[in-house]
Symmetry: C2
Subunit: 337 residues, 2 copies
């Protein structure tokens, strides 16, 4: 109910996802948590709503203005909290939301707890690249300050996600830094470099700001301060280009024509920042499958998120993360950090 | 001598700058420090070289591969060190270089010392914005780790630079953060927010990654890790657009035409990252006027750097920085940090 167009987009997306799963012969139930009356009405408006969709009533809504840290206490009857409780109780295998990102992060961490071996859950974001596949950058805001160990865990989780969900063999993991040499950067980053070089992931070394778009790595790990700044900076490229191209198009009919032709190309390229294409971003490290979508998620985005959540459950992503961190922790080299 | 096209670009730029200064009736001498034979030859190739240009011989060169921290010790006869010594001895009012940025930073800090009240010298970079004027972001790499006090000093120095050199009245100073609320971000950033809110500069509060291109502030302060990552990320936008547009232009004659028309516009927009337009970036906080240009600086860029250096000297930028920090330090609020 916390999405910008809830519950219409959520309902339409669930119906779409249910049909996609049925077409693959996947047994499933999609439980819509929220205002029963409004959800029922939206469901009735779709032609032939699938019987696999059920409703759990929730009388309250977490808005984008609610303080993320306190919603568990202040809004226990919200669709967000009720939905996470269904997941916690074992009556669901995965949870998705297009609501308040910070609130989902905070409530999910509090209610579900962390995967064994994970110090800090993380949220990543997909960046388009000059290559053929996107780059997963994490963390992008969940952890403004990090320890070397956190960065190492982000790398393990991001790498497993890219491999098992993204289908990338031996994903290349880079550590975001201000130079290629292992001695560059802050103390935290230098120590993280040593951890990454010795353990578990396909570590390609430090990468720099230019290497994200450059497609040098499949997974880039960084503190949530830097990641958040770069993500929001990247999201401002399209508006910036728009402003420049608009000024240019006003100069002549020819320039107007050129802009009209090229604008859709640029828009498509930068649409890769859109959550729609990738079906939201995973909240990695909590004990349960959780996907967070943009507030403006369309029905297609919602459907993609549901399918993605199902995949994450099917491949046992969280169990794999736990196993991977357990074997890393039992290796003596990690103890030095 | 450390620039990519030295000494040709440097000599041509000096000749150009000398003529510009003469046209403004500015009494001046431009001292070229480096290989006397090669500089003389380059000067002879220009028609009617001005008598205001002199040469100081230097037999060695700091290259882009030299370790910045050790050039003072390892290359005492380089044009970089000899040039800085002319500045230190009081026989010059300003120093410019298109050589190794890290080496200039390190050698200038060591040889010249810091302005009284400045804990850490800083290098900024100009970003284009959707508005009419660029945004000065600092630090972009000189200080990977910062204290609140450093960020405050960056703000004072950047603000005075934007006002006195950029001609911007009451420059808007923003603190780069991951949210607008003063409670957001790391401890360092939160403390810096308090310092900035109480002292001296026209502080508009936190700004986010999107606000750099958005033109919300004239000066944005941040740690050198984040600033460096964002700068290099920004520099990768044009190559990324190029790759996308190239793929698109191969699709049809019409798309090839559209790209041919729009590409120069995009290039011009992103050329604002180019040092040429702004004539290098100032190294702020050292006891002496120092400007650092790109290794690829053209004669025009060199000339702009010389004129800019003259302006910085004329308006007594460093004295103003010292005065401003002295009055801030004597205010009781700063002591709390």
């Amino acid at each position: 109910m916390g999405g910008d167009t809830a519950p219409e987009s959520e309902v339409a997306g669930a119906v779409h996802a249910s049909r996609m799963l049925a077409a693959r012969n996947v047994e499933h139930t999609i439980e819509l948590v929220g205002d029963r009356t409004r959800i029922s009405a939206a469901l009735q408006r779709t032609s032939d709503p699938p019987s696999t969709i059920t409703i759990t009533d929730a009388s309250d809504v977490v808005t984008m203005h609610d303080d993320p840290a306190s919603v568990v206490r202040t809004k226990p009857d919200s669709s967000l909290i009720k939905g996470l409780e269904v997941l916690r109780s074992g009556n669901a295998d995965a949870f998705i939301s297009a609501g308040n990102t910070g609130a989902v992060l905070s409530a999910a961490t509090l209610l579900l707890g962390r995967i064994r071996g994970v110090a800090r859950p993380t949220i990543g974001a997909f960046f388009p690249t000059a290559g053929s596949r996107p780059c997963l950058v994490l963390d992008v805001g969940a952890n403004a300050e990090v320890k070397p160990q956190f960065l190492y865990e982000f790398a393990v989780m991001g790498s497993l996600y890219a491999e098992l969900v993204g289908g990338i063999e031996r994903p290349r993991v880079g550590l975001l830094n201000i130079g290629e040499e292992p001695t560059k950067g802050t103390d935290v980053v230098r120590q993280a470099h040593q951890l990454l070089a010795r353990n578990g992931v396909n570590f390609i070394g430090n990468v720099e700001g230019r290497d994200i778009f450059g497609g040098k790595a499949d997974v880039v790990v960084c503190d949530g301060f830097t990641g958040n700044v770069v993500l929001k900076f990247a999201e401002s490229i399209m508006p910036m280009l728009k402003a420049v191209l608009l000024r240019y198009s006003e100069r002549s009919l020819l320039s107007k024509l050129a802009v009209a032709l090229v604008a859709p190309v640029l828009r498509r390229m930068l649409a890769d920042f859109d959550y729609q294409k990738y079906g939201g971003v995973p909240l990695l490290g909590v004990r349960g499958i959780v996907i967070i979508g943009h507030g403006k998620s369309t029905p297609l985005a919602i459907a993609n998120m549901i399918i993605r959540a199902w995949e994450m459950h099917r491949i046992r992503l969280n169990e794999r993360i736990e196993e991977s961190l357990a074997s890393a922790h039992s290796s003596p080299t990690l103890e030095q950090a």
